[in-house]
């Protein structure tokens, strides 16, 4: 069984100018220990997909439909404990939420009791969880490394304290000494001198901040790490160092990772599977080598040949032309057809369906029977 199974996920943003179909019918799987690269241009819905998995979409956005099945959801629900929940409320104290989720009359709460007594079965769908349950998944089971290390750390707290907080949220009864031992150990794992735990973020360099963020995500031994553009703002040499550290940690802990980036060469360096997104749709999905060496979808092909290469003979860069569509009213049929060099008459009329090819799939009329 897959660790994470996303089925037909749809996330729309309801703005005054109309609904933006940011993520429209996306499906993919993630196995244990797999590194998935999610590539595409800005505005194609990469980040929205991952925020949807974390259930961190804020208004005006909404997850419309779909399933996000996580293998261990069941165990999270079974270990769900009202006392712990109250404890969390005391720490976080979101007054608004407190009122909304008065636990006793909550339907999901009653469901939980039924499930715990073995009376009712529930799916592994993360979208069915209550906010309090979801909070136990975030950070503990699925952790996220946010975009832009420069802004993701709180400037008025010491780095060590920020990492410490990630532990205490999930394990409030931990002993003081053990707590700090874990903080120091994780800092050492990502290659930061543990003494720097007392530093404020501005005292760290860009690469170190990024490492601190990775440490924060790793500290609870999560099953899945979602990294959103983890190396984009860094210089090449620092970038190479961070990537190398990430790769080593991934194999050391047998982590599953989703890596979002617009830079295909970063994906080529780290990932095993590759998913290409265009205008809210996943257009191609498959093993990295297959997709890279023999791209099937015209967009994948264009994207790969638009990247300048440093090795091999100098090749002419390919100009895709046009620009990404407006997601409020995307083009009819295949969303890539106005820019596609291989467009056929059918492309503008009918939406292509998923065609399964070599361990993955491609969504294009060229490959449909």
């Amino acid at each position: 069984m897959e660790l994470l199974d996303v089925k037909n996920l749809k996330t729309y943003f309801y703005t005054q100018q109309g609904s933006v179909k940011a993520v429209d019918d996306i499906s993919f799987q993630l196995q244990k220990g797999e590194v998935l690269g999610l590539a595409g241009e800005s505005g194609c819905g990469k980040t929205t997909t991952c925020l949807s998995i974390m259930r961190m979409i804020e208004s005006p956005g909404r997850i419309l439909s779909g399933e996000i099945n996580y293998e261990y959801t069941d165990s999270v629900i079974k270990s769900f404990d009202g006392a712990y929940d109250r404890y969390l409320y005391n720490i976080v104290k979101p007054a608004r939420e407190h009122k909304k989720e008065s636990t006793i009359f909550d339907e999901a709460f009653i469901d939980n009791i039924l499930i715990k007594r073995g009376i009712k079965d529930r799916s592994n769908n993360l979208l069915d969880l209550t906010e309090a349950e979801m909070r136990r998944i975030r950070g503990k089971h699925i952790a996220m490394v946010f975009q832009g290390a420069m802004n993701a750390l709180n400037p008025v707290h010491r780095v060590g304290n920020q990492i410490k907080e990630a532990i205490t949220v999930h394990d409030p009864d931990i002993e003081y000494r053990e707590l700090w031992e874990r903080v120091y150990k994780i800092l050492e794992t990502v290659g930061i001198d543990p003494e720097r735990a007392r530093d404020y973020p501005h005292q760290l360099s860009g690469g170190m901040k990024q490492r601190a963020l990775i440490a924060m995500a790793l500290v609870n031994n999560p099953q899945i790490i979602i990294a959103d553009e983890p190396v984009t703002a860094l210089d090449v040499i620092v970038q190479a160092q961070v990537l190398k550290a990430t790769k080593e940690l991934q194999s050391q802990f047998n982590l599953s990772m989703i890596m979002i980036t617009h830079d295909l060469s970063v994906i080529a360096e780290v990932c095993e599977t590759l998913a290409i997104m265009y205008a809210g749709k996943m257009v191609e999905y498959g093993k990295l080598r297959d997709v890279y060496k023999e791209p099937l979808h015209p967009y994948t092909e264009a994207l790969i040949s638009a990247f300048p290469k440093l090795t091999g003979p100098k090749t002419e860069l390919y100009d895709i032309g046009g620009r990404p569509p407006d997601l409020r009213n995307p083009p009819s049929g295949c969303r890539f057809h106005p820019r596609c060099p291989k467009a056929m008459p059918i492309c503008s009329k009918e939406e292509p369906k998923i065609t399964k090819i070599r361990d993955g799939y491609v969504v294009c009329h060229l490959y449909q029977d």
């Binding site: 210089d235 190398k244 360096e269 994207l303 300048p308 290469k309 440093l310 895709i320 032309g321 620009r323």
Partner: protein, 388 residues
């Protein structure tokens, strides 16, 4: 060296930014001596007090007519500062910039007014005639204008470099109007349309009345390119022109810049942090580290056979766009670029260099010719690369 026309030449260019310090520290200020000018083999020195960031510290290069010259380096190495210095958008601390063999400090407004005041006072005490005053003023002001006409810049961020209150016509026509080259509005419009179509905004007439918020990122940057090229400049600086653009849009803008510089024979300084991009755009590349050029050479030569340890590391660090060519071995260099304040003597790269010796801490290497057109600043370059 080929006998082509040099458009812009930088000679030992220096730019120091003062570091502000408190009262206590300012008592024990250090002094720095830097060479300011070099005239007929004689070097003038100047001593400055206080701490400085050595943003650009002794950079020399030539850019020929019709050539694209790439300046590559990590952030904070001084590549953008160099570009701004060449355009006189920043005042240099020392060194010389020559635009077609004429020192550009003569093209500044300060120089113009100083000369006018000197002439005017001469006129007041009766040493020169009013006609002379007028003539020299006109000469210098036309020189300033000519210089400004011939150098242009394309900025990094198309979202900030276009005025939101100017439509495309006004933005692109502004250089024409400022330089009083064409006075007739109808003619200006025709020129603008022609230029817009040349940068791929077709049909040009449709874009004239649009404001920047109505354009996409790629279109904005094309407007930026049109604005830079409308006066047919002889030298253009592009400071990370595509780093804010998406991959699919980037290629179009790059191709337009390439076509324009080639067809018009413009000297082009392409500043970027991306070595792969520089390889595609440039004829020659210079790699900068902490305010110095460490290696300079023809593109393919530099990319495939780098000689300086820093360039080697930089090329190794670039992620390869090929799943079969994954990096397996460790990077030879560790850590990050040290601070540009109080740089120790000796080679600047010495603290991170895998080949560093005691000698490297003492000798500050000069940029020297190793092969044809290939300059390297490293005292051990021959040992490391087995060259004779």
């Amino acid at each position: 060296m080929s006998e082509r026309d040099v458009v812009v030449e930088a000679k030992n260019l220096i730019k120091l930014f003062p570091v502000k310090s408190g009262i206590v520290r300012s008592v024990a200020r250090k002094s720095t001596t830097i060479p300011i000018k070099e005239t007929q083999g004689k070097t003038t020195y100047k001593t400055l007090k206080g701490d400085f960031v050595h943003a650009v510290d002794g950079v020399s290069f030539k850019i020929y007519k019709g050539e694209t010259f790439g300046l590559v380096g990590e952030s904070g190495c001084g590549k953008s500062t160099t570009g701004l210095l060449l355009l006189q958008l920043l005042d240099r601390t020392g060194g010389g910039i020559f635009f077609k063999d004429v020192e550009t400090s003569e093209y500044t407004r300060a120089h113009l007014w100083m000369n006018t005041i000197i002439n005017f006072s001469k006129f007041l005490i009766g040493r020169s005639s009013w006609n002379d005053v007028r003539k020299t003023f006109q000469h210098y002001s036309s020189q300033v204008r000519l210089f400004r006409k011939n150098i242009q810049i394309i900025f990094q961020n198309p979202y900030e470099s276009l005025s939101p209150r100017f439509n495309v016509l006004d933005t692109v026509a502004e250089p024409l109007r400022l330089m009083h080259i064409v006075e007739d509005e109808r003619e200006i419009e025709e020129l603008v349309i022609k230029e817009l179509e040349e940068v791929g905004l077709t049909p040009g007439t449709e874009f004239l009345d649009r404001y920047p918020h109505e354009l996409s990122g790629g279109q904005r940057q094309r407007v930026g390119v049109a604005r830079a090229f409308i006066l047919d400049p002889e030298f253009v600086v592009a400071d990370e022109p595509v780093s804010m653009l998406d991959v699919s849009i980037r290629v179009g803008v790059l191709k337009i810049m390439q076509a324009l510089t080639r067809s018009r024979g413009t000297g082009f300084l392409f500043i970027t942090h991306d070595l792969a991009l520089a390889r595609h755009m440039c004829d020659r590349i210079a790699v900068m580290y902490l305010g110095r050029i460490v290696e300079q050479g023809p593109t393919e030569e530099l990319v495939h056979r780098p000689l300086h340890p820093y360039t080697k590391a930089l090329i190794k660090a670039v992620p390869k766009a090929d799943p079969d060519a994954r990096r397996t071995e460790d990077l030879p260099i560790k850590g990050e670029v040290p601070s540009g304040i109080n740089i120790p003597p000796g080679c600047r790269f010495q603290s991170r260099c895998p080949y560093s010796t005691e000698k490297c801490k003492e000798i500050d290497p000069k940029l020297e010719l190793v092969k044809t057109d290939h300059l390297v600043a490293c005292i051990r370059v021959k040992e490391i690369n087995d060259l004779k």
